[in-house]
Symmetry: C2
Subunit: 211 residues, 2 copies
């Protein structure tokens, strides 16, 4: 049993992973928290505190071994295992996500798309078949599904999410514009694009008011 | 000149806006911070504090007038004006975003898509033309552009962002998987999908470890 780590810390971990990956690509072997701090524009003390949540990884006077830290953070983020993903909602956004090959490099394998629109039945995106929603129970009986991506309109999302949970899927990456009400043991991560756009809009207006 | 409000508060405002919109649709005329608190699963004191940043809006013993609060938060978020948007990168994600009609209902009008891929030249998405990147200077000379959506691969995103800023665009909705280095007066809002997926993955692994 791990100690509870705040979601604020977790939100920063993929960014560490990304920067360390870039350092690795650039052939950098070790880095101090101060150097990393300058690159990432967070304080060195924040970096040390964040990493100490997982036991440290740094060595006084040496700094961090980039390769080692990259791999350890990858493990923390669960990137050392394969996650099978289905995309529920094969509209524009669902298809765009299914076309992202970069997810696969991190072990996120999209194994099927699902939709209710009969016009999409049997079509495929990058070789991944689009199934009809009523084929879902049979699909999950035969294939492990770790994550369902929900790219349905708001009106259809709640019901689909409940169906997914009933079928035993316990992690949802939710792109629908609502907060899902699901049992506590279901992990949900939201991507609310409209919220993000409104936050941008707020910052534009504030800048204009300040000029 | 407004007082500086923390981005944490700002991040919560679109969610208030969304819930108030749902209440309005359901015909609810007023609501107490306690009732809103139960629905939104945040404390009533958090709601009062957040809204007090903008001057309150509530009345002791009456609660909030839903319509009024909805409109006021809309104004705070800049939804009372039109934002002209171009999408730079007309690949899968760019096209998916251009197909979102819901953005338009909030005043976010997509006026053009841009790409370097000659195969896309002259095509259009939902009636919005795909231009080549070298047409961009002429385009921004004749049309106001408030926001550029950056849906390019990481490798091309930095240079495109710099070009956009040189052309006078000062707000970027960044979907590319990197942190842009831009002048301070350029407003950037990031949607890092991989980061979000890794956060989900972390929470899956943590739940498994706790079982």
């Amino acid at each position: 049993m791990q100690k509870e780590i705040s979601q604020a810390v977790i939100r920063r971990m993929p960014r560490y992973y990304r920067y360390l990956g870039e350092l690795l690509d650039a052939g950098v072997e070790r880095i101090s928290s101060n150097e990393l701090s300058v690159r990432m524009k967070v304080t060195a003390s924040q970096i040390r505190q964040d990493l100490n949540n997982f036991g440290g990884f740094g060595q006084q006077g040496y700094g961090y071994n980039v390769q080692y830290l990259y791999e350890e953070i990858g493990k923390i983020l669960g990137l050392d295992r394969q996650h099978n993903i289905i995309v529920v909602g094969a509209g524009n956004m669902g298809q765009a996500l299914a076309n992202y090959v970069k997810f696969e490099k991190r072990g996120f394998m999209i194994t099927g798309l699902f939709d209710v629109n009969p016009a999409l039945a049997g079509l495929s995106v990058r070789g991944i078949e689009i199934h009809m929603m009523d084929e879902l129970p049979e699909f999950v009986k035969h294939q492990r599904v770790d994550i369902a991506v929900l790219t349905l309109p708001k009106e259809k999302a709640e019901q689909a999410a409940e169906q997914l949970v009933k079928l035993g899927i316990r992690a949802i990456w939710n792109f629908a514009h609502l907060d899902l009400e699901l049992p506590d043991d279901v992990v949900v991560e939201n991507v609310h694009l409209s919220d993000s756009l409104m936050q941008l809009s707020y910052n534009i207006v504030r800048r204009q008011d300040n000029e």
